[in-house]
């Protein structure tokens, strides 16, 4: 069935709640309103206000309460209204959730999901456009996923809800209604920790995730016309990284361009580049290149946002340069 990315999320939540009565949702305006982006639309009607819980504006409480509920057997799915606000519940994510099992000597589970609507390109400005994923990919005990397709949005969310560890789920606002594709109606999972090879080729590799996937696919299609064949690897899971897939494509083509919408400095691209530079060094035929948002804040004005974000054209230019090495 043709399904948008946001509808896929909605479907996953509904399926998970039907399959397991321990699954419940909490967050701001997720009930009657169905969430700021309608991710939870219709769920209050079907499951009632105990399982679709509207909270006060208290991000630290939302995450913390999810940890507590998870520790005693529920499977909470918390929503941040925007990913940007996870900074207000930061301690609960990185110290409370991430270490729960560890500090209980392994005798605890923390099966919770924090949904974070993230990303730029929607004229959101400084505080409604952030890509905070790399704050969390450096925290052991967490898992971090960032689907780019509607299929993955659904399958990764179902995986995340079934997972016994805390999963930070970054859903991309720009893709909500722009991505539309055939998605099975039934329940299925996309495994956490596995990247997806979206395109096979032999000349250069794009390693990417989230909204930037589409720039890479577009650029790869264009490059194909120029006789350059590309691999496009969609990471999907950012913690733990699929090192096998990363190294395989790097070794295969010897030329890697890492692309993400997150800021260049401190984005996950640095980690990916470092892994390649250390473990695929002998195979490299060119510098490991990176393209990310420029090192500034998420400026609002159209020309500014365009200037700082990766785009099809920027990826293409970088890809050409790489292919030319």
């Amino acid at each position: 069935m043709e399904t948008t990315y946001i509808k896929a999320i909605n479907d996953a939540l509904r399926i998970a709640m039907r399959e397991d009565e321990n699954v419940f949702l909490l967050g701001e305006d997720i009930g009657a309103l169905g969430g700021a982006f309608k991710a939870t639309e219709g769920l209050l009607d079907e499951f009632g206000s105990a399982r679709v819980l509207d909270t006060p504006i208290s991000e630290s409480l939302i995450v913390g309460a999810a940890v507590g509920a998870a520790a005693v057997g529920l499977r909470p799915v918390a929503e941040m209204q925007f990913a940007d606000f996870v900074s207000c519940g930061f301690d609960q994510v990185v110290n409370m959730a991430a270490t729960l099992r560890y500090r209980h000597g392994g005798n605890a589970k923390c099966p919770m999901v924090v949904r974070c609507p993230s990303g730029s390109g929607v004229r959101g400005g400084l505080f409604h456009s952030q890509n905070p994923e790399a704050w969390f990919t450096r925290v052991p005990g967490l898992k971090v996923v960032a689907p780019a397709t509607a299929f993955d949005a659904k399958g990764l969310l179902l995986s995340a809800i079934q997972d016994d560890d805390p999963v930070i789920y970054f859903e991309h606002k720009f893709l909500y209604r722009r991505v539309k594709e055939d998605v099975p109606e039934a329940s299925y999972v996309v495994p956490i920790g596995k990247a997806a090879l979206r395109m096979e080729g032999s000349d250069i590799s794009f390693i990417t995730y989230g909204s930037a996937l589409y720039h890479c696919l577009d650029a790869a299609a264009e490059l194909a016309k120029e006789g350059v064949t590309s691999e496009v690897l969609d990471l999907r899971t950012l913690l733990p990284l699929d090192r096998g897939a990363i190294l395989a494509t790097a070794r295969k083509t010897g030329k890697v361009l890492i692309v993400h919408e997150d800021r260049l400095t401190g984005g996950i691209g640095g980690e990916v580049a470092a892994i390649i530079a250390e473990h695929a060094f002998e195979y490299l035929d060119a510098p490991v290149m990176r393209l990310g948002m420029r090192d500034t804040h998420n400026a609002f004005a159209g020309a500014m946002e365009e200037y700082i974000l990766p785009s099809r054209e920027k990826v293409l230019a970088a890809g050409r340069k790489l292919a030319g090495y």
Binding site: E28, D29, G31, A32, L33, A36, D54, T55, P56, I57, S58, E59, S60, L61, F82, D84, F85, S87, C88, R123, G124, G125, L126, F127, H128, R294, T296, H297, A299, F300, A301, G302, A303, M304, E305, E306, Y307, I308
Partner: protein, 318 residues
């Protein structure tokens, strides 16, 4: 008399500005979100009117009027809202995510109530330097649930800071009605837990607001420490102009529209002997002209260039 008219002018200016934004939004002339304060004019005008330039205000997303009353140039504010180069943030962010420190207006982030600790920092400076200035920190009843509110009020109590906390209780946080946000009727009750006074007032009643906030400001200036004033009010529009506000009833809206702050104030002016028809028309012309000019200025202003997104990050580049 002078004051009566100034207040009236301010009320009408704020409403005209807000109303225009709403209209422009529906015409697709505004690039970002618009969070209307229509209906809450008495609250912002009554609390900010009369402050000195050196006093600081910390407005939130619905406090556009506070910018205007505090002295921010309407043209710059409109340019800010349109994301223009001439805007307060030079197009870097939109709507009220910008301030004008020279006017004593602190720009908020989007993180609700995160301004309150910062307001304490400004008040601390006033106290440390013995300056008789005050800080007004606004927050919604929804934002009152955030931990930063607690940390800020507690600290303000301990240090007896010259800060007035103003809670705009408009009964909803986006779609969430007050009973889902808190188990009490009055946020003002919390002041007792911080060692200062909390007062509830009718936020649609200009005089009530001026009276309560005025007294709190005077107390703060004299070194008497903080006060929490909760103003009960109502926003006519949805949460943002995108929101159709189906979570509330038409009757409820009607009830509140009948408590319109400007209407109430006009009734006062009429009692005082003004020819309200004439005054209203004349004031309407004036504020319309101001807003027209602001819109023209803003729309004629250049957009920022892309590379300007890299400027303004650091005072001292390395």
């Amino acid at each position: 008399m002078e004051r009566d008219l100034e207040l009236y002018h301010n009320l009408r200016l704020v409403r005209e500005f807000e109303g225009r934004l709403s209209k422009m939004h529906h015409q697709g002339r505004i690039p970002g979100g618009v969070y209307s304060g229509l209906g809450q004019e008495a609250l912002v005008v009554g609390s900010v009117y009369g402050l000195a330039r050196e006093d600081f205000i910390f407005p939130l997303h619905r406090d556009l009027g506070a910018f205007l009353v505090k002295g921010v140039d309407p043209r710059l504010l409109m340019a800010q809202i349109l994301g223009k180069k001439t805007g307060l943030s030079g197009g870097r962010d939109s709507f009220l995510h910008a301030g004008s420190l020279a006017d004593g207006v602190f720009g908020a982030t989007s993180m609700l109530a995160s301004s309150l600790p910062v307001a304490c920092g400004v008040a601390l400076k006033f106290k440390m330097n013995g300056e008789p200035n005050v800080v007004l920190a606004f927050f919604g009843e929804g934002a009152s649930s955030r931990g930063d509110v607690h940390e800020a009020m507690n600290f303000a109590g301990v240090q007896r800071l010259p800060v007035v906390f103003i809670c705009e209780n408009n009964f909803y946080a986006f779609s969430t009605p007050q009973p889902m946000e808190m188990a009490v009727e009055d946020v003002a009750d919390r002041a007792a837990g911080y060692g200062f006074k909390g007062h509830v007032c009718n936020g649609n009643d200009l005089f009530a607001v001026m009276h309560e906030v005025g007294a709190a400001v005077e107390l703060a200036r004299r070194g008497g420490g903080p006060t929490l004033i909760e103003c009960k009010t109502y926003r006519y529009s949805g949460h943002s102009e995108h929101d159709t506000a189906t979570y509330r009833t038409k009757d409820e809206l009607l009830e509140w529209e009948s408590r319109d702050p400007i209407y109430m104030y006009e009734f006062y002016l009429q009692k005082k002997g003004h020819d309200m028809a004439a005054l209203s028309a004349e004031t309407g012309e004036r504020v319309k002209a101001t807003v027209d000019e602001a819109v023209k200025f803003a729309e004629d202003s250049p957009d920022p260039e892309g590379p300007e997104a890299m400027d303004g990050l650091y005072a001292t580049q390395v």
